[in-house]
């Protein structure tokens, strides 16, 4: 009987050994993976206990901080509504948004859970999350906001050399600090303050599409900048008549002159010469119709199918109307890529992660690049965009900055919601630009009159900040 008792013992010992192996797998090997499941309530509890990291602008000005109030932690946003769409918010009931959502783990310091933090926790000190340093510049953002005033619209400013976003503004905005209490009112507001117009608002580009068409036409080789066109003030394509602004006739013009004047009649002809496929291929190469990779959710806009596009459709596309939608972020990237010799840098907001003691854990100088236009073409388009701002009768003269050469393009986009949307895209200095900008004002009128002054102000502040403060961090 003793032998059988021993085998029974071995069987039970075997069972418990299986348990040991299983425990090693669940607790040690797969442990972190299982514990990081969003359903694990410990994560939410940990988030409440951790002193959330701060969010700083490029000059380390505080954009978001945490404070203790009534026994629990509340988020403070010293800049109020200025960075609302970019920073997002932290609410119990409505969750997180923006940078707060995207970089929540870093703000909680979760990936860097180390033994030292555990020890500090044991002694009752609330652990601190990591600080985020963003690429944005409060001065540029402030300038954009002031220039927009209380008009609805968006401003995107970035550094074409790196893709670092300097300003990202959407009006109307909201105060992220009072989201918890004011949510129903803010969400119901007919002016849609929760929508981030800069990254997700989709609009017809109007004439701000012309640089793209110009690039496509020059690439195809059907026209040159010296090519001459006649502008009688209107043109009829497949039964639809397209007119110029105020039915004004531009007479006999070269392509470059037509670009500076934003002559619709000429560009309809250029579009027809170039063909739908070539135009849309260039638009696609420049990132239209696709959501840009970014730190925040982005809209894709819309590019029509070239095969389904008739002559009439092509004529409309040529002047940035019809089934064509873009976001301000996409247009800022287009301007930046043209200025940056045809190389589009991936836009980004996060420049550094710092631990609570200020040690730098990660630095991002750029997040990738893509060649979208041959440099020769980009230079040609740039030359014509300078003409828009600098030639005597150019549409964008309101964007002139003393001592700096600015390249730009106006846009006035017809839409079914009322007066046209005003666009201006620009970069400066025109040669080797360090700032590019896209301005959109909803239903505000003519691009050259209302959007160009906003762009000028933003470029001015951005250039001044760069020459004064260097490129910290």
């Amino acid at each position: 009987m003793a032998g059988r008792v021993a085998s029974l013992g071995r069987l039970l010992a075997g069972l418990l050994s299986v348990l040991l192996a299983y425990l090693a797998a669940v607790q040690v090997v797969w442990g972190p993976q299982i514990a990081d499941a969003p359903q694990n309530p410990r994560l939410a509890i940990a988030a409440q206990r951790i002193h959330w990291g701060r969010i700083l602008d490029r000059h380390l000005a505080v954009l978001a901080d945490s404070a203790e109030a009534g026994g629990h932690q509340v988020r403070r946003y010293p800049t109020g509504a200025l960075f609302a769409h970019l920073l997002g918010y932290r609410t119990q009931r409505y969750g997180l948004a923006g940078i707060e959502l995207q970089y929540d783990p870093a703000l909680l310091g979760l990936p860097a859970r180390n033994p030292w933090q555990t020890i500090q926790q044991a002694f009752g000190r609330a652990p601190r999350g990591n600080d985020l340093v963003l690429t944005v510049d409060s001065a540029v953002q402030q300038a954009a906001s002031q220039a927009l005033g209380d008009r609805r619209g968006a401003v995107v400013a970035l550094d074409p050399r790196t893709g670092a976003v300097l300003a990202l503004l959407s009006h109307p905005s909201f105060d992220p600090e009072i989201m918890e209490a004011q949510w129903p009112a803010i969400a119901r507001d007919p002016s849609a303050p929760l929508v981030d117009r800069a990254t997700q608002g989709e609009y017809p580009p109007g004439s701000s599409f012309k640089p793209i068409l110009l690039a496509a036409a020059l690439a195809r080789g059907r026209v040159t900048q010296q090519a001459e066109f006649d502008c009688p003030g209107s043109i009829t394509v497949a039964g639809t008549t397209i007119t110029d602004f105020n039915n004004e006739s531009h007479g006999h013009v070269t392509l470059a002159q037509a670009f500076a004047l934003s002559c619709n009649v000429t560009f309809v002809q250029v579009g027809l010469l170039t063909g739908a496929q070539a135009v849309l291929r260039t638009a696609e190469a420049l990132g239209l119709g696709r959501a840009p990779q970014f730190d925040l959710p982005t809209g894709a806009g819309h590019l029509p199918d070239p095969h389904a596009l008739g002559k009439r459709g092509l004529a409309q596309i040529a002047i940035g109307q019809g089934p064509l939608l873009v976001t301000p972020l996409q247009m800022a990237l287009v301007a930046a890529a043209i200025g940056n010799h045809g190389v589009m840098m991936r836009p980004f907001l996060l420049s550094q992660v710092r631990d609570p003691d200020g040690r730098i854990l990660a630095t991002y100088a750029q997040r990738g690049s893509r060649e979208v236009l041959p440099a020769r073409l980009a230079a040609q388009v740039t030359r014509d965009m300078i003409g828009v701002v600098e030639s005597v009768n150019g549409t964008g003269t309101a964007a002139q900055i003393a001592g700096v050469r600015v390249a730009g393009k106006t846009g006035t986009a017809e839409n079914p919601h009322g007066p046209p949307h005003a666009w201006f895209i620009a970069f400066a200095p025109a040669v080797r630009p360090s700032a590019a900008v896209a301005v959109l004002l909803e239903n505000a009128g003519v691009g050259g009159e209302v959007a160009a002054p906003v762009a000028r102000r933003v470029l001015e502040v951005a250039l001044r900040a760069q020459s004064a403060g260097g490129n910290r961090p």
Binding site: S17, Q27, G31, A35, T118
Partner: protein, 446 residues
């Protein structure tokens, strides 16, 4: 009967009146120190502003182990010296975790442990002499079945299982006592019949059945009652113990195979017939299907276990209280969270050591009866430990039975200490057999 009657008459005169049991003393002090230290840590970390009274109660309960040790020394016992310290270690951990999870239950659990130790002391001299097992085998079975019938008819339901009896303000869990009674019954009957079951040569199934019949009837009756009680864990345990003892007594693999086939058939039938069995299995296979409802407990157990990592969060720093029934069914994952894999490995190792000592005792025991009771209790302890530890960690489907010496609960504490009394008795006789009259100290633990 007195404590002296533990020993065989032949060696009675030659025995020194005292054994030193130095290994037991040393290990016991470590085990108790661990518990007292743990209680103090939990108190300082979590309940700093509360009175120290529960910690004192826990310390006093653990002090009870020293008294048992002294009693064993005084009676000149040669019983295994490792078993008691292991049990003290598990009890220490149990008190620490219960204080951590449910501070209001610490005093009560301390009282249960004290009561269990008292029962152990009281029965060292009476129950431990196993002759009653043979004489009253059928009475044990009858009392056990009666208790189960009572539970089914007048018992109260808690957490979805009707496994409790109300007795003067206390709720008792008869299943734990019935476990001991069944081991006694099987051991008693098998001691008498194993000779005939093992006879060589051709035999008839009908005669075999007549010998095994009573045990089958009792076992199936208990299983049926338990299934209606929805106490599947206990059903599995009883059946496993029955098979194990049958195998040890007869060595007939056909019985074991037949039993396993019957078990498989029964399991499939239960799955088809009873919705609550189906739910248990489905929730085990895919807890994510209903993460906030039926899958909640098992998922929380997994998160708790996984959150512990290698060394755990430390006592009081984790969130095991998020698990339903953390101080009973889920105490093992709770240990996993706050003490990490280090803690769970220690617990499983303690159980392995304890099983090792008990099986060693059973292997070396003098008579059939001692061996069978020892093997039965060891099988019960090992199976029960595996069923609840593996169940609460999702290795197997979860069925709520107490983890021996660990889970909060009075009935389990008392019956586990009674089992310990039987084992110390067997081991004491064994020790004497091995060391003869000259041995002054050091049982099989040496």
């Amino acid at each position: 009967m007195t404590v002296d009657s533990l020993r065989l008459p032949s060696s009675h005169a030659a025995r020194a009146a005292l054994t030193l049991r130095t290994s037991e003393r040393g290990l016991l002090l470590w085990a108790i120190a661990l518990g007292v230290l743990g209680l103090a840590v939990v108190h300082l970390a979590v309940y700093r502003s509360e009175p120290w009274v529960p910690v004192l109660a826990g310390t006093m309960a653990l002090g009870g182990f020293v008294i048992v040790h002294a009693a064993l020394c005084a009676s000149g016992s040669d019983a295994d010296e490792i078993v008691l310290p292991i049990v003290a270690g598990l009890s220490s951990l149990s008190l620490v975790m219960i204080y951590r999870l449910r501070p209001e239950y610490l005093s009560r659990q301390s009282a249960w442990i004290a009561l269990g130790l008292l029962a152990l002391l009281a029965t060292l001299g009476t129950l431990a002499d196993l002759r009653w097992v043979r004489r009253y085998a059928y009475l044990s079975a009858a009392v056990g079945l009666a208790l189960l019938v009572l539970t089914v008819t007048v018992g109260v339901e808690r957490n979805g299982a009707r496994q409790w009896l109300l007795l003067g303000g206390f709720t008792i869990e008869p299943g734990e006592i019935v476990k001991l009674l069944l081991v006694a019954f099987f051991a008693g009957v098998l001691t008498d019949t194993r000779g005939m079951l093992m006879l060589p040569g051709p035999r008839r199934w009908s005669t075999d059945l007549a010998r095994v019949g009573p045990m089958l009837v009792v076992c199936l009756g208990a299983l049926l009652l338990l299934v209606f009680q929805r106490d599947l864990g206990l059903a599995l345990l009883y059946f496993g113990v029955f098979l194990a003892m049958l195998y040890v007594a007869t060595g007939r693999p056909d019985y074991v195979l037949l039993g396993l086939a019957a078990f498989t058939l029964g399991a499939v039938l239960c799955y088809q017939l009873f919705p609550h069995v189906r739910v248990r299995i489905d929730v085990w296979l895919n807890p994510w299907a209903d993460p906030t409802g039926r899958g909640y407990q098992i998922l929380q157990g997994l998160y708790s276990l996984a959150s512990g990592g290698v060394v755990g969060t430390g006592l009081g720093a984790g969130h095991p209280e998020l698990m339903p029934a953390a101080h009973t069914d889920m105490i093992f994952p709770a240990i996993g969270e706050e003490l990490g894999a280090a803690g769970t490995f220690c617990v499983v190792s303690l159980y392995l050591l304890l099983l090792g000592r008990i099986f060693r005792t059973a292997v070396r025991a003098g008579g059939d009866l001692d061996t069978l009771v020892g093997a039965g209790l060891a099988a019960a302890l090992g199976l029960q430990t595996f069923i609840i530890l593996a169940g609460s960690t999702r290795l197997i489907p979860l069925t709520g039975i107490p983890a021996p010496f660990l889970t909060y609960g009075g009935s389990a504490a008392v019956s586990n200490f009674l089992a310990l009394a039987l084992l110390l008795g067997i081991s004491g006789r064994t020790g004497q057999r091995f060391h003869g009259a000259g041995a002054h100290h050091g049982g099989p633990g040496r």
